[in-house]
């Protein structure tokens, strides 16, 4: 599934519809639903993902849609 910006951000507020505190029941889009459920169940940790994948995600989610986000 491609990740269009509208699918992961609220079009009205331009804030991501998931953050570190979001539970599955609080998600507001189907894409957010899957992001949260995957993160929860696959116990993704920084060690398991290489930098390329993170950059790919970052670009897909934010860079390409003009949404500004500062990575920690």
């Amino acid at each position: 599934m491609l990740i269009p910006s509208a699918a992961v951000t609220s079009q009205k507020s331009e804030k991501p519809d998931v953050d570190g505190e979001t539970t599955i029941g609080e998600t507001t889009s189907t894409t957010g639903f899957f992001i949260v459920s995957l993160a929860k169940n696959l116990s993704l940790t920084p060690k398991q993902v290489n930098g390329t994948l993170i950059h790919l995600t970052y670009d897909l989610l934010f860079k390409g849609c003009g949404f500004t986000c500062r990575r920690k």
Binding site: M1, L2, I3, V8, P16, V18, D19, G20, T22, I24, G25, T27, T28, S29, T30, T31, F33, F34, I35, V36, S37, L38, A39, K40, N41, L42, S43, L44, T45, P46, Q48, V49, L53, I54, L56, T57, Y58, L60, L61, K72
Partner: protein
């Protein structure tokens, strides 16, 4: 936030990263994958409410496509969890009048029917539930489902006949298919 970025990465590129993980496991471990499908099942009412809110046929096909790799997993337990989820999804989508985009997804190239046939090939034990799923998603076009549509994916006549042989018994036992035959009559 970083955890969610990585989860989103799994959905990028037409789900190819997610498909890899679901089919081959997380470093060979399939338990997290089964738990993920069970978690989606447990939250299916919320997922349905999001689909209704999004009011988009693409959202329906995207959801079905995200879950599809489970049908092609090397682990039977994952396949069974995915089938259970699809059976419930079919009932809910029908009740919400969202079955048209679901049927479109089912019959499209590399869609649900393709995944069902892969599942039967990898896990013949799943044939009963898979047949029910095929009837549920293909109910709009039952005749073509078991003839032209299956033949598109099973070009080898022997392979086609083997699948028909496997499907025939659960098909004749299926209440869904009996209802469909009665409707045709």
């Amino acid at each position: 936030m970083i955890f969610f970025l990585k989860a989103a990465a799994l959905l990028a590129g037409g789900n190819k990263y997610l498909a890899h993980v679901v089919i081959k496991g997380v470093k060979g471990d399939f338990e997290p994958i089964v738990l993920w499908y069970q978690d989606v099942y447990a939250n299916i009412n919320h997922l349905m409410s999001l689909l209704v809110k999004e009011e988009s046929p693409e959202a329906v096909t995207n959801v079905l496509q995200v879950l599809k790799p489970g049908l092609m997993s090397k682990e039977e337990e994952v396949a069974q969890a995915a089938i259970k989820l699809y059976l419930k999804l079919a009932i809910d989508l029908l009740s919400l009048d969202l079955m048209a985009p679901a049927a479109e997804w089912f019959f499209c190239e590399n869609g649900g029917l393709f995944a069902c046939l892969v599942c039967i090939k990898r896990h013949p034990e799943t044939v009963e539930n898979i047949t029910t799923m095929m009837v549920q998603f293909g109910a709009s076009n039952m005749f073509d489902l078991f003839t032209a549509e299956m033949e598109k994916h099973l070009t080898d006549p022997l392979e086609y006949l083997n699948h028909v042989k496997l499907i025939l018994r659960p098909l004749t036992d299926s209440e869904y298919s009996k209802e469909e035959v009665n409707t045709l009559n």
